[in-house]
Symmetry: C2
Subunit: 156 residues, 2 copies
């Protein structure tokens, strides 16, 4: 089921809330109240996002979290990477030596290109897009050549 983890889903909910109130500093307990996600879990997510510069933190009394960048400058790939680590479709795409078949694995190179296609797709979606009303319209972008023009379908 090619999917993101629950934590990443929660992260998107939390970030969406913060993006709607960009002027304020948000404490972990504020965000618990606003989103319904348990406090320790919110706390964990906020720490991960801060470490990867999606959020900035202010310690101490009157402290809290705020967006590090404008919503349009934070993309979904960053958010997923912050919570789940490097994005890749198969293990051997990120780390060598974990796969017994590695030396004879002829498809590794093409999996890597698929990864790039997927990454390109989610990198192009910003937090600002996430809080915008749903609309759609065709645009174009570049993907690796294994995605051939002849195979493509326009769905919109």
């Amino acid at each position: 089921m090619l999917r993101v983890s629950k934590l990443t889903d929660y992260a998107s909910v939390i970030l969406t809330h913060i993006a709607h109130h960009p002027a304020a500093l948000h404490t972990a307990s504020d965000l618990t109240n606003a989103t319904g996600v348990a406090l320790p879990t919110v706390s964990k997510i906020l720490k991960l996002l801060t470490k990867k510069n999606v959020l900035v933190s202010h310690r101490g009394s009157k402290g809290g979290y705020a967006l590090a960048k404008k919503p349009s400058e934070t993309n979904v790939a960053e958010i997923i990477t912050a919570i789940e680590g490097p994005i890749s479709m198969t293990e051997c795409s990120t780390v060598s030596g974990l796969c017994e078949q590695e030396s004879s694995c002829e498809i590794k190179g093409n999996w890597h290109l698929i990864n790039r296609a997927v990454y390109t797709a989610i990198e192009a979606v910003s937090l600002a897009d996430m809080i915008a009303p749903v609309r759609r319209q065709a645009v174009s972008f570049s993907v690796p050549e294994i995605v051939k023009t002849s195979d493509l379908k326009v769905e919109n």
Copy 2:
């Protein structure tokens, strides 16, 4: 880590092998020898792929498995779906009622569009592409409008 499961990875190795020898019928034990993946696991994968019409099976003596379609007509999205079920980035994109925040979840719609973008990317990659040498070249295809032209980068 936005990734496919190990079983899907094995499936790609198995299918690649079959695609290289399209004339023959391949038994589960032949494929174990060819790929190094354990027999019960190979067997499980072959059954899943057959059920979803990626492979066709012939029972009995001299039986085995073969591709149901030409390599160019089987895409990666089909393979992943056969092994892991419907592709979606968040739980609530496929099934309603599993998410407590569902009614107040304003981002559901946009996650759904991200799913489409990812699906479009992997649907465009065929099994024939997987066994081809790695090359690259820019092409274009259509994705939902949340992917804005201004955010796009050409990496090739």
